[in-house]
């Protein structure tokens, strides 16, 4: 048996890519998540009202999205519609988090991948040597996103403000005004960031071209009308041609009629396909690129222009996996401009901020867009408001099948010799484009650390050696 293990990096959590070989030839690729934390069982028996405080801890990177999504589900469980003001505050939280994450992914996780592969320890730090402006402006946007979450959510990581029926407290007026002023000031930063990031990607078109897509569907929330809003709308699944396959509402358990969850025996990720779909052929991609194709109008001219540029060059729907990096730039622009406008004009202070719940418990589900794609929280509670059921589907769980499909398409049939040292970089490029968040995806699991690549013989069952080998 050939045993080789490469550790992959620049993503949240731990995942393993298994490459099965017959002799020298690659015959199959499996994508494995290994962290387990049991978020879907451990709060059973406790108050469902507390879910929005617990679920952000599923993922520290996109905690605010989990918070908002959880609040949306709890609203439905408790039979209450949040007031307008509360919805605006929650939306602002989600906008801020998206801005933070898209910028953070670009500077810290995604773009270092476009540095020459022979750079030692490719990272944010190396990127800042090659492109100091890009990193500096990017990190400013990251902090800006954190500020928005902090003002509206109470804390920058793991926010607390949203409760069943609304929010606990309106933001401080002076804080919001300061933020609005900050957004006006940093316009130039954004411009510089977009230029730098865009040009870096422009230089690497051959790399983007190299990774052909082979996932089948794309799924995202379509807000219907501008401006772009990741928190409300109708979920749409489109096929390779861009035709709509299924739609379902962003609230309620109807998603169960459209999606299937599959337990696989080699991973703690429960992979997702459309109803009745096959794991190997019917994979769904979610995330920034899916949104790029499904959202009709960002409501920001600049963002729409950038998007049309992508469509011109790569066709519509744009499907090359690595185009996600472009899509993230487009979204950064859209989110920044929308936030700038909203912070300056929107009213977050008119009471009420929360409506009282009308029932002890029932069933409810909330669906929002996380930075990495569609996020579903589905709860049920009994009359005494005790949680009896929790199901959470995270973007990376949905993407897992798509990652596998892309990896298979790119690697199966090639030989290890021909790939040689490039193997690691090639797998990493695909996996990083999806920005998998392993903490989230391994449902019950927390995320472990890096991606590991293991190469095994086709006849050997996959088994973790008791003591994993530590060297390449």
């Amino acid at each position: 048996m050939e045993g080789r293990k490469l550790l992959m990096t620049l993503l949240e959590g731990h995942a393993t890519v298994y490459i099965k070989t017959e002799g020298d030839k690659i015959v199959d690729v499996l994508y494995q998540g290994v962290d387990v934390r049991f978020f879907e069982t451990f709060w059973v028996g406790n108050l469902v009202d507390e879910m929005p405080r617990i679920t952000p801890m599923i993922c520290g990177v996109c905690s605010a999205t989990h918070h908002v999504c959880s609040a949306k589900a709890v609203d439905m469980v408790r039979g209450v519609e949040p007031p307008e003001t509360a919805i605006r505050i929650r939306d602002a939280m989600n906008y801020g988090l998206h801005l933070n994450n898209q910028a953070m992914h670009l500077v810290a996780l995604g773009l270092p991948d476009f540095l020459p592969p022979d750079t030692p320890r490719r990272s944010l730090i190396q990127l800042s040597k090659a492109r100091p402006e890009l990193v500096k402006t990017g990190l400013e946007l990251v902090e800006l996103g954190f500020q928005v979450v902090k003002v509206f959510g109470g804390r920058d990581v793991h926010p607390i403000n949203a409760i069943a029926g609304g929010v606990a407290r309106p933001p401080n007026k002076s804080d919001v005004e300061k933020l609005a002023a900050l957004f006006r000031e940093k316009e130039a930063t954004l411009k510089r960031f977009v230029e730098e990031a865009w040009s870096l990607l422009q230089e690497n078109h051959s790399k983007i071209e190299k990774y052909k897509p082979s996932y089948k569907y794309m799924m995202a929330i379509d807000p219907g009308k501008p401006p772009y809003n990741p928190s409300h709308g109708t979920v749409k699944i489109i096929d390779e041609k861009g035709g709509v396959k299924t739609t379902f509402p962003d609230k309620g358990p109807e998603y169960l009629h459209a999606l299937d969850e599959h337990t696989v025996d080699y991973s703690y990720i429960k992979m997702v396909t459309p109803k009745g779909g096959d794991l190997r052929s019917d994979s769904i991609m979610v995330g920034a690129l899916a949104r790029l194709n499904i959202v009709t109008d960002y409501g920001v001219e600049w963002a729409n222009e950038l998007r049309d540029k992508i469509f011109e060059e790569w066709g519509k729907p744009a499907r090359h996996t690595l185009l996600t990096h472009y899509a993230r730039i487009v979204e950064t622009v859209a989110l920044y401009e929308i936030l700038k406008e909203k912070l300056a004009s929107e009213d977050y202070y008119t009471p009420p901020h929360a409506n009282p719940p009308t029932r002890g418990g029932g069933e409810g589900a909330g669906i929002v867009e996380a930075p990495r794609g569609l996020l579903i929280h589905h709860y049920a509670a009994d009359e005494a408001s005790r949680t009896v059921f929790v199901n959470i589907i995270t973007p990376t769980a949905i993407n897992a099948a798509a990652i596998e499909a892309d990896l298979r398409n790119h690697l199966v049939g090639k030989t290890l010799t021909e790939l040689g040292d490039k193997l690691y970089a090639e797998v990493a490029a695909i996996v990083r484009a999806y920005d998998p968040c392993m903490s989230c995806s391994t449902h019950t699991a927390l995320q472990p650390a890096p991606i590991t690549i293991r190469i095994v013989d086709a006849n050997t069952p996959i088994k973790l050696p008791l003591k994993p080998p530590r060297r390449r």
Binding site: M8, T9, L10, L11, E12, G13, H14, V34, D35, V36, R37, F38, E40, T41, F42, W43, N46, R53, I54, I58, V61, S63, M104, A108, L109, R121, R122, S123, L124, L139, G154, V157, H158, I160, I163, A168, R169, L256, E261, T263, V264, D265, Y266, P356, E363, A380, F389, A428, C437, S439, H443, L446, Q447, P448, A449, P450, I462, K463, L464, K467
Partner: protein, 322 residues
Amino acid sequence: MAKLTLAAVTLTACGGCDVQIMRALLHPDIMESFEIVYWPFAVEETRLPEKVDVALVNGVVRTEEDLEKLREVRKAARRLIVVGSCAGFSGIAGQADYWPTDASLRAVYGKPPENTVKVLRRVFSPADLVPVDYIVSRCPPLVPSIVSALRAVLGKTSIETVESTVCSQCPRRIKEIKEIHFKKGMPRDADPETCFLSQGYLCMGSVTLVGCGAPCTRFGLPCFGCSGPSHEVALRRDSDIVIALARKIAVLAGLDPVEGAETVKKKLLETYGPRRFYVFTMGSEVIRTKPNAYAVEAAAETRLNPELCEKMIETRKKYLRR
């Protein structure tokens, strides 16, 4: 001065600590003094070196792989700093111990995956398993705390341990309690100026480590206890979260601190159940080994009633079957 080498290791965690570590490392003086040699979250380097000067560990030990990794990093590191509630006191991940691990696995996966990393039977916090030099608690850990721990390693500043509770930073006024009566749920109609305990809501502030600046109570939500137990609770063998809290409430209500506390404790446990007091500390040995603690009792609830587990699994199936 030569740069110190730094490795950041994530066990089973949420990534929030990684984000905070990143923000801490971006401080110019820290960036100048440390060279990052291993950090899967942000640096493309697959091998943990055999010797590093400082290691930052976050997350809980949940799988066999985590255990291996933790041993490896402890062996390699001259100074080991654990970051976050998970690493210090098992954090939110410790809640999973309420259900037996195989019941949870069955509930979520039906048939648990076999060809993958093995999940341990319970959650451990790294601070319970290996000796650590510093704990930066809280969920999420605060950037200034991580920075001050790193500066302390550099020998630039001395470091003071925190020994007060969240109450000392909370702006709410404590008033006497008229009648011992506890309310469940979120405090929607609570007075924004008065202490939650005085109003009959469960707030963990008085038994929780300080440092966060009490954002939750400022936002009208009671403290959840994310920093872990305060000095007094953790150090005294006769103390525990529930009894310490009950004692404070009892005296606020003008009762005797010993006998009154017993009555209050009974009432607290009746209203909220033992598990609610250990949201962030359930898997911690510091709490579990206390003779008066209820963490083990909470976990025993499901172990003594296997029907509870079956019911949970059945309910899950029912809702997912459409």
